[in-house]
Amino acid sequence: MTELKRLPTLPGVHLKDEITKISQRLKELGRGRHLDKAVWDKVELARHPKRPYTLDYIENMFAGFIELHGDRCYGDDSAIVGGLAAYQGRTLMVIGHQKGRDLASRTERNFGMPRPEGYRKAQRLMELADKFGIPVLTLIDTPGAFPGIAAEERGQGGAIANSLLCMARLNVPTVAVIIGEGGSGGALALALTDRVLMLENSVYSVITPEACAAILWKDSGEAHLAAQTLGMTSADLARLEIIDEVLPEPRGGAHRDHAAAARILKDALEEALRELETMNPRLRKKERFEKFRRMGVWKENGLTLF
């Protein structure tokens, strides 16, 4: 049954009746459904406390890095780091979510959940990069944007939206890599890029499986089922063409060998940039728009379109 459900979706007319029938049966099966343990394993790997974070990749990938701080307006959000990196004799602007490892740094980094200041800093740095023709690399790893009163008052929604708008507008090549948790709008805010890569054991979804389960099954204990249903693994996303490439991790997961994980990421980055930089900049931007325009699946005049 699960097999059937996880088949790649094919274009063409869906036979509604059949689906309804299948779904009906699944519903009857209820809590007895078979859970694919591999999916939840990936969720746990993506959240593994020893998994390399943005600053770990920066340390291992670049000869030099100068971190730049602040949104020049309200504060400096340490849940997002960014700065100029020396890369193969040239410059990259690297921006990423940052989690902490011990209790103190987790609190300081707010568990990698940015406030509006973080997205405004990211936007400021991306505009700086654009001004000087510096390509942008973003590293995605957050449970989501921080849900707090003050964050809302300072315009969390608008900050995310404007980060997206800025990324749409950039004239330089842009690459995003989902390195851990790609949680909802807080993750997407940094991922509107020419290329979106994803580490094998990362996840990327519209909502955390726990929250999804709480809403749909009124039981956050159903998170495993939600994870499977949402289709948040790299394989799922590659199938839906949400991401451009899955990067294999070192044996056992990226946390086993930070240096090897960084090498994998660096090689992939190099390939992506080589391709992007040789493109006509105007065409590159046009293709970025066309790519995101294609996102979505709907039926039009009876045909399911991808």
Binding site: I149, F292, L305
Partner: protein, 319 residues
């Protein structure tokens, strides 16, 4: 997230009794459906704004008979073959039945006080106004129509968040609609949003807050994270005015709050003023080398479209 906010809403918004009459959450008066529908769904006693359906909204804003739908033939698919307690197609079918709508957003051409506009209206009643692939694609088509016709775009927002049943595809509609906004900015097309109760989640973190002018309805809730999620995270009760239009105004997040009874006229004034600038700018400023490229960069298609349309015959009849 849709359902989550929806629960909150019903709690906040007062209940309805069996005969369709409901007590106003603003003044506790009992109102019959007629009391409300005859007054743009505004309480005649205290001015409390009740939720409107998409159809009511179109009736409110579009000149009679001027609405013609765009992309009305789009329907949601079920790419993830998603089921929770019920299959997604069942939920869609039910929403269609209950609302009489094809999706959570309708898009079309309309005239407002004789001004041509592209109009998009969302309906919270259709699966909590959640943004799935069809909402995203309809937004794109509306933006495209605005660029083709050079009519301004007005979007009335109402959303509980993402369409979870479309998973990651729902999330990516934020990126997709943002790209459409950026294309309009490069023309530029005047783009105004109206944030109505409630506007939250992905809509709030994409096109709703990217408009040239952001209008809010009195008392409407607007936020990115829903009130319940925040309460659970910070383990505190939220203040009474959390996320309301008036609070957002104080915090600099919206341009103006307009009571529904004045909404249409005010929108037309705003659009007219934005267009006034564009009209004037077209003559002296739109030579290639001197264009006011406030946003920098140039998307080829938007550009070419501008040049082709700058002297299109309909322009003169328009102004």
């Amino acid at each position: 997230m849709a359902q989550k906010v929806s629960v909150d809403i019903s709690r906040r918004r007062g209940g309805s009794s069996l005969d369709g009459a409901q007590s106003c959450p603003g003044c506790k008066e009992l109102l019959s459906p007629g009391d409300l529908s005859g007054n743009s769904m505004v309480c005649p006693h205290c001015g409390h704004h009740f939720r409107m359906t998409a159809r009511q909204r179109i009736e409110l804003l579009a000149d009679p008979g001027s609405w013609s739908e765009i992309a009305g033939n789009l329907r949601s698919a079920d790419p993830l073959e998603f089921f929770d307690l019920r299959p997604y197609p069942d939920r869609l079918e039910e929403a269609e039945y209950e609302t009489g709508l094809s999706e959570a957003m309708l898009t079309g051409r309309a005239r407002m006080n004789k001004m041509d506009v592209i109009l998009a209206v969302m309906d919270f009643g259709f699966m909590g106004g959640s943004m799935g692939s069809v909402v995203g694609e309809r937004f794109w088509r509306a933006a495209e129509e605005a660029m083709d016709t050079r009519f301004p775009l007005v979007v009335v927002c109402a959303s509980g968040g993402a369409r979870m049943q479309e998973g990651i595809l729902s999330l990516l509609q934020m990126a997709k609609t943002t790209c459409a906004v950026e294309l309009m900015a490069e023309v530029p097309i005047p783009f105004v949003t109206v944030l109505t109760h409630p506007t939250t989640g992905g809509v709030m973190a994409s096109f709703a807050t990217l408009a040239d002018v952001i209008v809010a309805e009195p008392g409407a809730l607007m936020c990115f994270s829903g009130p319940r999620v925040i309460e659970q995270t910070i383990k505190e009760k939220l203040p009474e005015d959390f996320g309301l239009a008036e609070s957002n105004m104080d915090h600099g997040q919206v341009d103006l709050i307009v009571p529904r009874t004045e909404l249409k006229d005010r929108l037309v004034q705003i659009l007219g003023l934005l267009e006034g600038g564009v009209a004037c700018a077209l003559q002296p400023l739109w030579e290639e080398e001197t264009r006011p490229a406030g946003r920098g960069g140039a998307f080829a298609q938007a550009f070419d479209r501008i040049k082709a349309l700058a002297n299109a015959p309909w322009r003169s009849s328009q102004r």
